[in-house]
C-alpha cells in the first residue's frame, strides 16, 4: 500500500492503494466514481476511457503509481451538469442502447475533438475505433460527434 494524492476532476483526492492498482479500480472502488466502466481490463474495449491531461487513456491499463500530478478527468468531470456538447449531442441523437460503453465513447470523443475540432468522417471512425459498442450504435456515435463538433465551433 502507498498513499497517493491525485488530481481528479479538479479536486485533490487521497488514496491508499497498491502501486499497481489500475486507475479504473482506484476510481470505482476507492473514490466511488463509477461512471468509468470495466469492460475488458486489457485496454481493448475503451469502456474505461478517462483523460490524463488532454489525452484519452484506458484507465484499466494505467497504474495509480504512474499518474503523478497529471490532471485526471472522468465522465463525472467532463461537465458538472451534462452540458458538454458531446453529452448534449449524445442525448439529441439518442445514442445509447444499453448505455454501458457510452461514457467511454464520450470521453474518447472529447479527447478526439480537443485534438481535432473539425474531424472528417474518416477521422471520427479511426479515432473511435478503439471503443467497442456491443449494441452497435456506431452510426449514431459518429453523427453525435459531428453534431458536437458543429455546436462547439
Amino acid at each position: 500500500m502507498a498513499n497517493y494524492t491525485l488530481r481528479i476532476n479538479g479536486e485533490l483526492r487521497q488514496v491508499d492503494a497498491d502501486p499497481d492498482t489500475p486507475m479504473l479500480w482506484v476510481l470505482r472502488d476507492h473514490i466511488n466514481l463509477v461512471g468509468t466502466k470495466f469492460g475488458c481490463g486489457v485496454g481493448q474495449c475503451g469502456a474505461c476511457t478517462i483523460h490524463l491531461g488532454d489525452v484519452a487513456v484506458r484507465s484499466c491499463s494505467v497504474p495509480v503509481s504512474s499518474v503523478g500530478d497529471q490532471q485526471v478527468t472522468t465522465i463525472e468531470g467532463l461537465s458538472s451538469d451534462g452540458s458538454h456538447p458531446l453529452q448534449q449531442a449524445w442525448i439529441e441523437h439518442d445514442v445509447p442502447q444499453c448505455g454501458y460503453c457510452q461514457a467511454g465513447q464520450i470521453m474518447n470523443a472529447a479527447a478526439l475533438l480537443k485534438q481535432n475540432p473539425d474531424p472528417s468522417d474518416s477521422d471520427i471512425e479511426q479515432g473511435m475505433n478503439g471503443n467497442i459498442c456491443r449494441c452497435g450504435t456506431y452510426v449514431r456515435i459518429r453523427a453525435a460527434i459531428k453534431t458536437a463538433a458543429e455546436t462547439s465551433r
Binding site: 492498482t21 456491443r134 452497435g136
Partner: protein
C-alpha cells in the same frame, strides 16, 4: 393510498383484453397488479416492470401507459420495478416480446386510471362522465368551461371502484405512441451515473471473483489457498456448488461449471490479484473437445445422420430425380459468446432469514426460484431488484452469476458483489451453438422451384424452423433436424437459431435464384405469391403478404436494379419474433477491404411505439449481425476456448460498421410485434449475397473473414 397523498393504482400488466374498444377489466385488478401513481402536483410515476437490457422498454412501455392515461410525456417519471410476481407477470427480457405481450394490458392500465380520474371529477362536479374529456393530464367539462388536473382528483379517484370496462383510444388519436421520445435514462447514461449492476454498492459489501475450470470437461480437484488467504484485503476463499446432488433447476440454470472457487475480499484489484495467485488442480471428467471435433461431428450428421423429419410435404426424392437443375449448399457457423459489455455480476446479501439480490438479469423470477430452492428460503424471503443492464443478448437469461452471489454471500456471511473478469465471462459457456445446415433445391425446366430440402444440426439442437419459409411455397418440402451433444453449454443468443439460419437460407435462395436466372427479389416474391394464393400445408408460421410487403418496400426504396459502379448489392428477407424484415446491402471495396456503404432496411413490426428508438434497435441489430458474421468465432482446443478477451476475440468496431443505415417501417396499424431481434438475422444473408456479386464467391462459413481465401477474393479498390 400512498404516504403524502396520491393515487396508487394497480393494474394487470398482461391482462388479455382482445380488441380496441370496450374491454373487460379483470376481477383481480387490485390483487395482482403493478401500479402507477399520480402526485398532487400532477406528476405521474409509471413503473417499468421488464428488465432493461438496451432494448429501451424502460421508455417504451411507460409511453404506452401514458398514452392511454392521456398525460403529456413530460409529466411522467419512470421507475424500474423490481421482481414482483404479485403485481406483474412475465418480468422477462427475451424473445422480443415485452411490447407485444404488454401492449393490451399497458394500454388498459393507462385507460383504467384515466377512467377513474374522470369519474372522480364527475362526482365532484355532479356531471355525467360522458360530458367530460381529458387532455395532457387535465379533465375538462366543455359545457361549463371547468377543468381540473389529475393531481387534484387523484386522491378521490383512488377511493373509487375499479371500472368494469374502459374505452381504449383509437390509434388515430395517439399523441405519444408513434412519436420519438428520448431514452428516460439518457441523461444519466451520458453523465456516468450509477445505473448498472457493477455500479451497485452497499455498506459492508465485499467483492467476490470466481474461478471456473479452464476447460469444459474439467472440474475442481484440489486447491491450495494458504498464500492467497494471507494476501492483503482477502477475507475468504470458498468453494460453492450451484447444482448439489439432487438439485434440478429450471432451464435458465444452464451452467457447465456449477462448482467454483470464489475469492472474497475488499477491493476488486486485491481480489483479482488473489484470484490469479490461487493454485488449483483440475481433473478431467469428460472428453475435452476441439473445434475440429465439432466440425467433423456436424458434417457426419449432415452426410449420414438420420434426423427427425419434422416436416414432409409431397415427395422431395421424386421431385429431385426429375429436376432439370439441382442446387446444393452447406452453411456453417461456430460457437460464439454473448460478450455483453458489462461482464456478468450480481449483488447478494444472504442472512439466515432472507436473501436480497440486486443486479442485471433477464429472468429475475427464475433466479428467485433457484436461490429460494438452493438456500431453503421461502420465495417471499428472496428479493430481486433490477439494475440497468450493460447488454443482455440472451446471456443474462441464464442467472448462474446471481446464484453464485447468493451462495458466496451465505458462505462468507456478508453482502458480496460477484464480478466476472472479461476472461471469466467469455470462457464460462452458454454460447450461441455451432450450427451446420445443408440445403437442396430442385428447379424444373421452367426454372420453377419444385422441391426444397433442409437438414440441420447443431450443438444441443438444430437451427431449422421447419414450418417457416420457404415451407408453404413449394409442393415438395422436407425439413430434417439433428442434435449434437457436447459438454460445452449453449443457450439463447440474440434471435436464437434465426441468427444463423436466416443468413444461410437467404444466401442459399440467392444461389437458387441465380441458377433459375431470376432476379433475387422477384424469385422470392414468386414464392410468396404461391404461398398467398395456394399455400402448401396449414402450419406455415408466417404471413406471406407481410413478408412480400417488406421485400417490395425495400426494393422500391433502394431503387433495386439500379446499377451503380463499384457498388455490389445483396438482398435478404426474414421473419422472426412476429416481425418481418427485408434488407439490401450496398457493398463497396475500400483499401482492398469490403465495406458496407449502406444498408436499406424495411421492417413490419406493426405499430412503432417509439420510432427513433426503434430505428436505433434496427441499426444495432444490423451492426451486430454484420459483426458476428464477419468476425465472431470462439474456437476450442482440449476443451478450452482459445479466445478469452478482445485482443483475440474480435467484435465489430466503428470503422467496420456500415456508413449509413436507412430504415423504413410499414405503417399498417397492426398491434406491435418484436423489434429487439428481427433486424439481426437476415443481414448476414444480404451481406453474403452482396459479396457474391462483388467477387463471384459464395460465403458458406462464418466468420466470413476466417474463410482462407476471403481476402484474396476481394477485388481491387475501384
Amino acid at each position: 393510498m400512498l404516504a403524502g397523498g396520491g393515487f396508487m393504482l394497480g393494474f394487470n400488466w398482461q391482462a388479455g383484453a382482445t380488441a380496441v374498444g370496450l374491454n373487460e377489466v379483470p376481477e383481480d385488478f387490485y390483487a395482482i397488479n403493478a401500479f402507477l401513481k399520480i402526485a398532487k402536483d400532477g406528476t405521474v410515476t409509471i413503473m417499468s416492470p421488464n428488465p432493461e437490457i438496451g432494448q429501451n422498454v424502460k421508455t417504451s412501455m411507460p409511453m404506452i401507459v401514458a398514452e392511454e392515461l392521456d398525460v403529456s410525456w413530460d409529466q411522467v417519471k419512470v421507475k424500474q420495478a423490481g421482481l414482483d410476481t404479485e403485481k406483474y407477470t412475465r418480468q422477462l427480457a427475451g424473445g422480443s416480446q415485452s411490447i407485444r405481450l404488454g401492449w393490451k394490458s399497458l394500454r388498459m392500465a393507462g385507460a383504467t386510471a384515466r377512467r377513474m380520474l374522470i369519474q372522480a371529477a364527475a362526482n365532484r362536479w355532479g356531471t355525467p362522465v360522458s360530458e367530460l374529456s381529458t387532455e395532457n393530464g387535465r379533465i375538462m367539462h366543455a359545457r361549463t368551461g371547468r377543468s381540473v388536473s389529475y393531481g387534484d382528483v387523484a386522491e378521490d379517484a383512488s377511493a373509487l371502484q375499479i371500472p368494469e370496462e374502459v374505452l381504449l383510444k383509437d390509434p388515430a388519436d395517439f399523441k405519444i405512441i408513434g412519436t420519438s421520445r428520448k431514452n428516460v435514462d439518457g441523461s444519466h447514461i451520458v453523465q456516468g451515473k450509477p445505473l448498472f449492476g457493477l455500479d451497485y454498492k452497499k455498506e459492508g459489501m465485499l467483492t467476490a471473483m470466481i474461478v471456473h475450470p479452464p476447460a469444459f470437461g474439467m472440474k475442481l480437484k484440489s486447491i491450495d489457498d494458504a498464500a492467497v488467504r494471507a494476501m492483503p484485503g482477502i477475507s475468504d476463499v470458498v468453494i460453492i456448488n450451484a447444482k448439489p446432488e439432487g438439485f434440478s433447476g429450471t432451464w435458465s440454470d444452464t451452467n457447465a461449471f456449477p462448482e467454483l472457487v470464489a475469492v472474497v475480499g475488499e477491493t476488486t484489484w486485491q481480489v483479482l490479484k488473489a484470484k490469479r495467485a490461487l493454485e488449483i488442480e483440475w481433473e478431467t471428467t469428460s472428453p475435452l473437445e476441439n473445434s475440429e471435433d465439432h466440425e467433423k461431428g456436424m458434417q457426419e450428421h449432415i452426410d449420414a445422420g438420420e434426423g427427425a423429419k419434422d416436416r414432409v410435404d409431397g415427395d422431395t426424392a421424386a421431385a429431385f430425380s426429375s429436376a432439370a437443375k439441382i442446387v446444393e449448399s452447406t452453411y456453417t457457423a461456430p460457437l460464439v459468446p454473448h460478450n455483453t459489455m458489462e461482464p456478468m455480476n450480481f449483488f447478494a446479501d444472504v442472512t439466515a432469514e432472507k436473501a436480497e439480490l440486486v443486479g442485471p438479469i433477464q429472468t429475475p423470477e427464475n433466479l428467485r426460484t433457484t436461490v429460494s430452492n438452493l438456500l431453503g428460503l421461502p420465495q417471499d424471503k428472496v428479493s430481486v431488484a433490477l439494475t440497468r443492464m450493460g447488454g443482455g443478448f440472451g446471456r443474462r437469461l441464464y442467472g448462474n452469476f446471481g446464484v453464485e452471489a447468493a451462495l458466496i454471500s451465505k458462505a462468507v456471511q456478508a453482502p458480496v458483489k460477484v464480478v466476472y473478469t472479461r476472461e471469466d465471462d467469455m470462457t464460462q459457456g452458454t454460447y450461441r451453438p455451432a450450427y451446420k445446415v445443408k440445403y437442396r433445391a430442385a428447379l424444373d425446366e421452367d426454372n420453377t422451384l419444385i422441391a426444397f430440402e433442409v437438414k440441420g444440426t447443431g450443438i444441443h439442437g438444430s437451427p431449422v424452423f421447419s414450418n417457416r419459409y420457404p415451407a408453404g411455397t413449394v409442393d415438395n418440402y422436407l425439413a430434417e433436424n439433428l442434435r449434437m451433444d457436447s459438454n460445452i453449454s449453449t443457450g439463447a443468443w440474440r434471435a436464437p437459431r434465426s441468427n444463423f439460419i436466416a443468413g444461410a437460407e437467404q444466401a442459399f435462395l440467392d444461389e437458387v435464384a441465380e441458377a433459375a436466372g431470376k432476379d433475387p427479389i422477384e424469385f422470392r416474391l414468386e414464392l410468396f405469391r404461391r404461398a398467398m394464393s395456394n399455400p402448401v400445408g396449414d402450419e406455415n408460421d408466417y404471413d406471406p403478404a407481410r413478408y412480400a410487403g417488406v421485400l417490395e418496400l425495400v426494393r422500391d426504396k433502394s431503387n433495386w436494379g439500379e446499377e451503380m459502379p463499384g457498388v455490389y448489392r445483396g438482398v435478404s428477407a426474414y421473419y422472426c419474433h412476429n416481425s418481418y424484415v427485408a434488407q439490401v446491402v450496398d457493398l463497396v471495396v475500400e483499401n482492398n477491404l469490403p465495406r458496407v456503404k449502406k444498408v436499406w432496411c424495411a421492417v413490419d413490426c406493426g405499430i412503432v411505439v417509439n420510432p427513433d428508438a426503434a430505428l436505433n434497435q434496427v441499426e444495432g441489430g444490423i451492426v451486430d449481425g454484420i459483426g458476428h458474421a464477419m468476425y465472431g468465432a470462439l474456437s476450442f482446443k482440449d476443451g478450452a476456448p482459445e479466445q478469452n478477451n478482445f485482443h483475440s476475440y474480435r467484435l465489430i468496431r466503428n470503422m467496420e460498421a456500415p456508413k449509413e443505415i436507412e430504415t423504413f417501417f410499414v405503417d399498417n396499424g397492426i398491434d406491435p410485434t418484436g423489434l429487439g431481434e428481427p433486424s439481426l438475422p437476415p443481414i448476414s444473408g444480404a451481406l453474403a449475397n452482396a459479396f457474391a456479386k462483388a467477387t463471384g464467391k459464395r460465403l458458406y462459413t462464418q466468420p466470413f473473414t476466417g474463410i482462407p481465401d476471403f481476402f484474396d477474393i476481394i477485388p481491387a479498390s475501384g
